[in-house]
């Protein structure tokens, strides 16, 4: 599978419907360059999870379907693949809400990530040790039942489990949801490390705009199923509209993006 283009993921104008009726994404286009971290930002219901699931082909299990546009991963169109085939191609999604296997031990959870690979016991142990170098906390808790670990640890389990599949690309859906700021930083440090040391490209859906942008190379902001704004992480962090809407540095109450754009066009007209 040779792919000379610089993008590992290229989403072009996709439209997604659930149950053939409910339009969840109107028009989303985004690119993830190889080896980069891209943040997908937006509020609840904006379409972040739907975008990720369209890529990992997990939409089908929720009766969703890409009804328009195309998704290209590593130079090949994603169309009829199953989620397990996508894992085989090196694309792994870490679902929203961690979704650990509660009755399995921490170590069993992580090992289950290697299910799609044909590894010997020795190879698995070697991989495990490598994974534990990133997730030191988990090594201490390897024998505990996953359901009894903390939220932060469960998020680490979910990422570690995905890493066992040896992905070229990770889709992280709200990895910091409900975590204390200290843990948010810890999770992002690990994500950054995996990105630089293991060369994994990352597409990250987050509501935590500030931290997400600080740890990404590029960002997209979506609202009601449409990309509203995109740019390098730095430019978005310094963007006045983003500041006002997502970083909480606002003089007035809460607004959405469309209101801001409307205001701007009104201003232009009155000038």
């Amino acid at each position: 599978m040779s792919n000379n283009s610089a993008n590992i993921l290229d989403i072009k104008n996709i439209e997604v419907r659930y149950d053939n009726v409910i339009l969840a994404l109107h028009d989303v286009s985004l690119k993830v360059p190889k080896g980069k971290v891209v943040a997908l930002l937006g509020a609840n219901g904006a379409g972040k999870s739907t975008t990720l699931k369209a890529v990992s082909t997990m939409l089908a299990s929720e009766r969703g379907k890409v009804t328009n546009g195309s998704i290209e991963y590593d130079g090949n169109a994603i169309d009829k693949q199953t989620p397990s085939q996508m894992v085989g191609l090196g694309m792994v999604q870490v679902l929203e809400g961690r979704r650990c296997f509660g009755h399995l031990t921490v170590e069993e959870n992580i090992i289950s990530g290697a299910y799609s690979r044909k590894l010997s016991k020795g190879d698995i142990n070697q991989e495990l040790e490598k994974i534990y170098t990133y997730f030191i906390r988990l090594k201490e808790r390897r024998k505990s039942q996953a359901a009894f670990t903390s939220g932060g640890e469960q998020q680490m389990i979910a990422v570690a489990r995905a890493m066992m599949a040896k992905p070229k690309m990770l889709l992280l859906d709200e990895p910091t949801m409900g975590l204390a700021p200290q843990l948010v930083a810890e999770i992002f440090n690990i994500v950054k490390e995996l990105n630089t040391k293991e060369g994994v490209s990352i597409l990250l859906a987050e509501q935590n705009t500030n931290v997400a942008l600080k740890n990404s190379d590029y960002g997209y902001i979506i609202e009601t199923g449409r990309v509203m704004l995109d740019g390098t992480a730095e430019s978005l962090l310094n963007d006045d509209k983003v500041k006002e809407l997502y970083l909480g540095i606002s003089k007035k109450g809460r607004k959405n993006f469309r209101d801001v754009l409307k205001e701007e066009s009104l201003k232009k007209r009155s000038n």
């Binding site: 299990s61 199953t82 397990s84 792994v92 296997f101 509660g102 399995l104 289950s112 990530g113 599949a165």
Partner: protein, 302 residues
């Protein structure tokens, strides 16, 4: 006094051992419930189908016992394969209720196929183990306990240990436990649901065959086996639908309780209460502990 205690012991042990026969049937239900969160209504038909095929191989084709058993087990794997391919895969994204209805239909298909292939008359299944008290135990412990009951107990124990090892120490076992916990997350990391389904349906088929042999040897291989399998329902309600130890212990409780009630309370109701007593017990469980003894606690946010 001593005689009365001895009699109670006999009733209790006999009940417990008979209970393992319920456990065997319940095991098949648990396997499938774990993987697909569906109550498999065709489990009774699978018991009937498998043991009738086993008898057919032996009696119509004169295939020796062991070979016939292996053939029947293989046939159940084929049934599992067909079920996965023809029923479950097309319903992959359907709701659990739809799958539940499909298992009812599958049950009718299996019953029909079995009778079309092997006829409708009751067959005798001779395992070479009599359903009469073991003389050694009767002489030494003064307890009258059936050899078939003891065999059923042993077989159930072996099956449970085997399944436990399979789930705990093999890769596909790990996959099954992962799917049982969270099928969506399992598929997100590349565990192919279809392999897991194939495994549990085949395993449930083989378990059905073993249970069928035990019941068939006692009551004859006949259509009534289908309904007998529904005795597993109170077993599961008591033990918990998703727990293998629960199926075992639930079976033991049902076996012991129904025999004890039959002997000591039955006369006041004119006897034959073992037919319905387990269901009464199940109702109490549904009222006060709906997840069963070992089932996962059902938590809902209100």
């Amino acid at each position: 006094m001593a005689n009365e205690l001895l009699f109670f012991m006999e009733v209790l042990v006999g009940g417990l051992l008979a209970g393992t026969m319920y456990s065997l049937v319940a095991l098949g239900f648990v396997l499938i419930f774990k993987a697909s969160a569906t109550f498999n209504f065709s489990q009774g038909a699978m018991v009937f189908f498998s043991v009738l095929a086993f008898c057919g191989f032996m009696q119509d084709f004169n295939i020796p016992f062991v070979l016939a058993f292996i053939l029947a087990a293989f046939l159940m794997v084929v049934v599992g394969l067909c079920t996965e391919r023809l029923v479950l895969r097309p319903l992959m994204n359907a709701s659990e209720d739809t799958v539940l209805m499909a298992t009812i239909g599958l049950g009718y298909v299996l019953e029909g196929l079995a009778q079309a292939a092997w006829g409708v008359e009751v067959r005798r299944l001779d395992l070479g183990i009599g359903d009469f008290p073991v003389p050694w135990i009767a002489d030494n412990l003064k307890l009258f306990i059936s050899a078939l009951d003891i065999t059923a107990g042993l077989v159930a124990a072996i099956m449970i240990i085997g399944l436990f090892l399979l789930f705990k120490y093999t890769k596909i076992g790990l996959g099954l436990r992962a799917v049982a916990d969270d099928a969506g997350a399992a598929s997100s990391i590349g565990i192919p649901l279809k392999h897991i389904m194939l495994l549990v349906w085949s395993a449930a088929g083989v378990v059905a065959l073993v249970a069928g042999c035990m019941w068939g040897a006692r009551a004859g291989v006949q259509f009534a086996l289908v309904d007998l399998a529904l005795k597993a329902l109170p077993v599961l309600i008591i033990g918990g639908f998703s727990s293998i130890p629960g199926a075992i212990i639930g079976g033991l409780i049902i076996g012991a309780v129904e025999k004890i009630l039959e002997v000591y309370i039955g006369p006041f109701f004119g006897g034959a209460i073992e037919g319905w007593a387990p269901y009464v017990l199940a109702i109490f469980f549904l009222l006060y502990r709906p997840e069963g003894l070992f089932g996962e606690k059902i938590i809902r946010r209100v």
